[in-house]
Amino acid sequence: GAALAAYCLMLGDDALVLSHRLSQWCSRAPDLEDDIAIANIALDLLGQARLLLARAAAADPAVVPVLAAWSGVSPVPDEDRLAFFREADAFRCTRLVELEHGDFAHLVVRLLLFSSARLAVLQRLAASRDHVLAAIGAKGATEVTYHREYAARWVVTLARGTEESRRRLLGALDELAPWHAEQLEAHPVATALAESGVGVDPAGTADEVADVLAQVLEAAHTPWPDVAPRGGVRGRAGRDGMHTEALSRMLAEMQVVARAHPTGRW
């Protein structure tokens, strides 16, 4: 159960954290249609996160934080205890999703990198021996296909729009490309679950993801930047709970109300 829970937290935290970053865009998009699209993507990812956190809690109740404020069993749902009562180092998302949001080019580039990698995983997850994960994979793949198309369309548009938009797009690509590889790295938890037919080894999707990105970037007349992948600290990165400075700042805001009222009902 522990490995499955850890695996579900990885996929769940990716969705939760990026959903949060996207929700910070609310009422700030360049056009109403984009405000709607971004909120929609954030909602889809939040939905995926909720299913995955619930699956993690079911697989191993020990991953769910115990709330000291409750003497007995807390009525706070598992998904909320996981989202609002873990410290940054207990999150298992990659560092790509947690970075502070930048301009709209940053949004679409991050979404392209994320959804390309996630789609490849979800499509394979649809064949998981775990029926819950299989359902999440099947449903999620449909959603993320749309996210990827939205991102790809904007990446091409910005790359070939104006000088200014191209400059910004290339800047965002330079800034984000070093964080891409972490999504595709093998991790013992994922590898073990892949072997038992429950999870997906992201390393096995690397070629497919590279092909998808290459196609989009070709349409964008833009090369993949020549940058080294961003290293971790002491050999550890997001999947091991070693994050950037941005995550704990983000959680301070995200968790503040829930933590101020640990015995509250919402």
């Binding site: 909602l43 609002f84 009902r265």
Partner: protein
Amino acid sequence: AALEADFEAVIARHERIEPRDWMPEGYRRTLVRQIAQHAHSEIIGMQPEGNWLTRAPSLRRKAVLLAKVQDEAGHGLYLYSACETLGVSRAELTDMLIEGRQKYSSIFNYPTLSYADVGTIGWLVDGAAICNQVPLCRTSYGPYGRAMIRVCKEESFHQRQGYELLMTMMAGTDEQRAMVQESVDRFWWPALMMFGPPDDASPNTARSLAWGIKRNTNDELRQKFVDMSVPQAERLGVTFPDPQLRWNEERGAHDFGQPDWDELTRVISGDGPCNAERIAHRRRAHEDGAWVREAASAYAARQQEHPHDQKEQH
């Protein structure tokens, strides 16, 4: 004159005027002003709730709020489209908003100060909006009436969700109950002001009624809202901050105090607690997005010129 007679006949039969029909210039102007103001309210209304989106205390509430704010953007979109049928573009309307030449609902110039405000806005603000809007589903201008039907359906869903949040919080801790009451205290009077000034101080009402744009006076709708809200407050376990509020058996309606109309004047004229911030936020988003919109136009123009190119790129 024949056109005008046709127009009057349609109005008299309570049927719809459609975009291609002839209409008096005053009717068109009044409609543009009202629909634009309504659209702007949806867009500006995303901010006070958006303020708590990133702090929602449960994932379910976060999803509900995100969906709600998204719906507001959607309402803004239909209403801008309805306005465009009257010959004013969304870009022009946006400029009028951020230059302060068109208004939006005064209620969104109040700050949201706790998560309970999310519930109160759903219950009272959306509640007041529904009272205002349900009659507008029968408004005489077709595109506006049809937009309102869709908007009202979603608004009543939002109102139920807001009320349900408050109900849940009232079943929580003492602090949560105090938070709900404090929030209701803050929003009650501004909600009553949403129906506009009293009838005797609302010079345009008569004409709007005659044209079938409005279907009820401000005071009629305000009364209806009070009568609807009082039993809901009782069920919730909160009070309204109005010592004059009581049931009047004779009228079969509630008597209630008058809001501070000077405050409404100040807020409408730009000096409310958050007017400057709301407009500045909208302006910043609009300006920050300019390069993206320009890129999209430039790219679209280029694709028109070189349609072959377009094929390459999916």
